[in-house]
Symmetry: C2
Subunit: 103 residues, 2 copies
DNA sequence: CTTGAGGTACGATGCAAGACGTACCTGAAA
DNA sequence: TTTCAGGTACGTCTTGCATCGTACCTCAAG
């Protein structure tokens, strides 16, 4: 239900708003930098915020269509929607990885 | 004197925050779509907000390093910083023009 | 079954941001 | 010089959002 974003109704404003936050940008940049696209846990990003706030951030990223969230009940898997992003917003991930590398 | 943004200290968060607003995104998209890069007036964008709010929006765009504002005293010229943007944030303008064309 | 770590739901809070009203400045044209 | 449209400055209102506290849920491991 309601898979919005790059793979759905792709609102560029929603995507930019999602990526305006440094924590969320860090998450996507890390995912984008790892070419293996393996599933990661929310915890593995070491965000310096409470878990409630993390829930919030990952939800924003999901609603922007940037990630998939796989629910296992008591834990959650995160996966970058690389293909959809590159198809609908080509160049976006490059911007993020470039910033992270300190261009 | 504080030329921030793509041509200066390029904070991607500031740029995304600037482009998260639909009015500002419209401005940049229109500028990007016009290859002639001619100078335009603030009025020529027909933003459905008051002139005070327009002043605000153009300031945000300037502080994000996306436009130049040429002050003539009682009127103002707007110019896209295309070269700097394409150098520091390649692909960004394409994302905006693509959205506007209804990709 | 109990425990505990990972997650969510809901509410509260503090702050940033969009929008406008009023007042004022600037310069071209009448 | 008077007028007036274009812009700015400042204050205010309202909305959105990042953050956290409290409470509850879920499942795997004892």
């Amino acid at each position: 239900m309601t898979e919005s974003g790059p793979a759905g109704d792709a609102d560029l404003g929603t995507v930019f708003r999602a990526l305006a936050d440094e924590h969320r940008r860090t998450v996507i940049a890390e995912l984008a930098a790892d070419g293996s696209d393996r599933e990661r846990t929310c915890n593995s990003f070491d965000l310096p915020v409470s878990k409630q706030t993390q829930t919030h951030h990952f939800r924003v990223l999901r609603e922007a269509g940037l990630i998939h969230e796989i629910n296992y009940g008591n834990r959650k898997g995160i996966r970058l929607r690389r293909a959809e992003i590159n198809r609908r917003l080509p160049g976006l991930l490059d911007l993020l990885t470039a910033e992270r590398r300190g261009t």
